[in-house]
């Protein structure tokens, strides 16, 4: 088995995909670091202070004003209200949620990339894992070895897991190294609040507790890798079913982007919560943002994603083992 996995890793590495992805991450992190740096400077200039409490208070007031203006949608209003309560909570407890530093940047980067960017990167690697063998004709060689088909597919799946892990590692290392050059490398022990639960329009703070940023980050990375694995598994299934890598990418892209759009507008379509793409923002539950559809919780979303992933896995193995190769 280890030989098979090695084979798959060799192919992935030789296709240079992992390096391209690392390069993309590096460029994006650079861009975001610069943007964040500019933003911080701008805020300081506008308020004439570096005191985060003043900045946070100003954000709260801005949010309140937005809440009071007419013509904002009900969902948005709800979202703002919850954010307001949260910001107020941070303020009341003297915690700066956006203290500068590479770990904070990393955390924000992970939170913002979990829905689209990370799945996209995963897709780039996984989309052609099986379909390229089918379209390139090497599938015939692969399947006429004295190795059972399920073992071949399993080795590919393990290689997928390893690649995803590598992508995450690249994300973490690059965002830490690059943003740290600007914001400094400290801030691992910054206390952060978690355990918010949203009930209707109210923020339930009964379970709120402090954890150090490194742990918070670790939790978010765990969730991100879970999301990446699920998205990877779905892409994997499509890759098994279809010969054309472009078709695989197209379908996944459509699903992911529609997920990003849907999350903003499905609050009235309740059964949409069973779609995998609106459940990708797992880190929102940790930071306490409102879910796109009322009644969604961390456990629910993990459950939905796990079911999707499991079904995709079963389908891909079933199809791969029983299919005739022409």
């Amino acid at each position: 088995m280890i030989n098979l996995v090695y084979n798959e890793m060799l192919k992935i590495v030789r296709k240079k995909r992992l390096f391209i992805i690392s390069a993309i991450i590096a460029v994006l992190v650079g861009l975001f670091t610069y943007a964040q740096y500019k933003h911080v400077q701008d805020v300081q200039k506008r308020l004439g202070t570096t005191d985060w409490r003043t900045q946070l208070q100003q954000q709260i007031i801005d949010t309140q004003n937005r809440l009071n203006s007419s013509g904002i949608s009900e969902e948005w209003r709800k979202f703002l209200k919850i954010r307001l309560q949260q910001q107020q909570y941070y303020l009341d407890h003297n915690i700066n949620p956006s203290a500068p530093g590479a770990p904070t940047f990393m955390r924000m980067f992970v939170e913002n990339s979990i829905e689209l960017f990370l799945p996209l990167m995963v897709m780039v690697v996984v989309a052609d894992l099986v379909s390229s063998e089918a379209s390139g004709g090497t599938m015939k060689l692969l399947l006429t070895r004295p190795v059972k088909r399920w073992k071949i597919l399993l080795s590919k799946y393990i290689a997928m897991g390893v690649s995803i892990s590598f992508i995450m590692l690249a994300l973490v290392v690059l965002s830490y190294a690059i943003s740290g050059a600007v914001f400094g490398y400290g801030g691992w022990n910054l206390p952060l609040l978690t355990g918010f639960t949203v009930q209707g329009e109210e923020l339930n703070t009964a379970n709120v507790h402090l954890i150090p940023q490194w742990k918070y980050l670790l939790i978010e990375l765990g969730l991100a890798s879970f999301v990446a694995i699920v998205v990877g598994t779905l892409t994997f299934m499509l890759s098994v079913i279809m010969r054309s890598t472009a078709a695989v990418m197209g379908i996944m892209l459509a699903a992911l982007i529609s997920g990003a759009i849907l999350s903003n507008m499905v609050s009235s379509w309740e059964s949409a919560k069973y779609l995998f793409m609106v459940n990708l923002r797992l880190t929102d539950y940790i930071s306490g943002a409102a879910p796109p559809i009322a009644g969604m919780t961390l456990g629910f979303s993990i459950g939905v994603l796990a079911v999707w992933g499991l079904v995709a896995l079963i389908v891909s193995f079933f199809v791969f083992i029983t299919r005739d190769v022409y």
């Binding site: 192919k11 015939k140 004295p146 190795v147 005739d324």
Partner: protein
């Protein structure tokens, strides 16, 4: 001689259409077996069933005594194959490709890799990327990977497809060498009779999913070969030859069966009768002729 590959009553149905209609044949050790048929006769489907890429609807394939369905790994270990074009990973070098496939075998050694590389004569370019290889080199690399596991049966689908004349000859010689020296059973499919004739010991002719005939190549050819006579007096010559054998007339030429020992005798008779013979032309049957002959006028589609 023992049978290495035995096929019994192999069938494949897709939807309601029966594509392969009950094939049975077997390969002996050290022989080259030809699989002859026009495109669409079911050669490729059959070969894919032999190597486990397609599951037969019914029937049985056994390789060196192992059932392909039930003991896949044991059975397929004795088979090396190239199905259609030898498609390898273009972004890896030839050596890495071989290593890749070798790692999928139960055991492998660097020595065996070197051995097959030498066998196909690729030692100079083996560390280049496959992307830079010519078709002939890819074909040879394909054979190298098929031979890696020291198989008893080698299955090659259209091995000379796309090769230049020199390449075709090399390939032919190579295949013969494998059968004679290494005692491999080689199954070669082709839609060119000339190729089969030069390479194979036995041949199975397929059309529309059925094997019409299995026989030694020589027997088959002898039966079907023709001799064309060009003479100045068609009517008289026809009468004379008709006494000896069956004669047909086409395009101002006479056609008789091919009997090597008798040709000179017939010619002598014609000359003695004062008929001037300007051409005696033995002709191998075309595949088309063979089919028309064997299927009784059924055309190739």
């Amino acid at each position: 001689m023992t049978d290495t590959l035995v096929v019994q009553n192999l069938r494949k149905t897709i939807g309601k259409k029966e594509i392969i209609k009950g094939l049975s044949f077997s390969l002996r050790e050290g022989e080259v077996f030809g699989f002859l048929g026009p495109n669409g006769a079911g050669k490729t489907t059959t070969i894919r069933m032999l190597v486990g890429l397609i599951k037969p609807t019914s029937g049985r394939v056994s390789i060196c005594g192992y059932d392909l369905q039930r003991q896949f790994a044991d059975a397929i270990r004795h088979v090396g194959c190239i199905v259609e074009n030898p498609e390898l990973y273009p972004y890896l070098s030839g050596w890495e490709n071989l290593e890749h496939f070798a790692r999928m075998l139960p055991s492998f050694s660097k020595e065996r890799l070197q051995e097959v590389v030498h066998l196909v004569g690729l030692q100079h370019r083996i560390h280049d990327r496959v992307r830079t290889y010519s078709l002939g080199m890819r074909q040879r690399l394909g054979i190298a990977q098929a031979l890696l596991g020291q198989p008893k049966v080698l299955i090659l689908d259209e091995p000379t497809n796309g090769l230049d004349p020199v390449g075709i000859r090399e390939m032919r010689e190579f295949i013969r060498l494998l059968a004679e020296k290494e005692k491999l059973s080689v199954l070669v499919s082709s839609h060119l009779l000339s190729e089969i004739q030069l390479m194979c010991d036995r041949v199975a002719i397929m059309a529309k999913g059925e094997i019409i005939r299995i026989d030694d190549v020589e027997t088959l050819l002898k039966e079907q070969a023709r001799v064309y006579w060009k003479v100045d007096s068609l009517e008289r010559a026809k009468n004379i030859l008709a006494n000896e054998t069956t004669v047909l007339e086409t395009d101002g030429m006479l056609v008789t069966g091919y009997e090597a020992s008798q040709l000179a005798v017939w010619n002598e008779k014609l000359v003695q009768a004062g008929i001037r013979v300007s051409e005696i032309q033995p002709k191998l049957p075309t595949l088309e002729d063979l089919f028309i002959e064997l299927t009784g006028g059924e055309t190739i589609d």
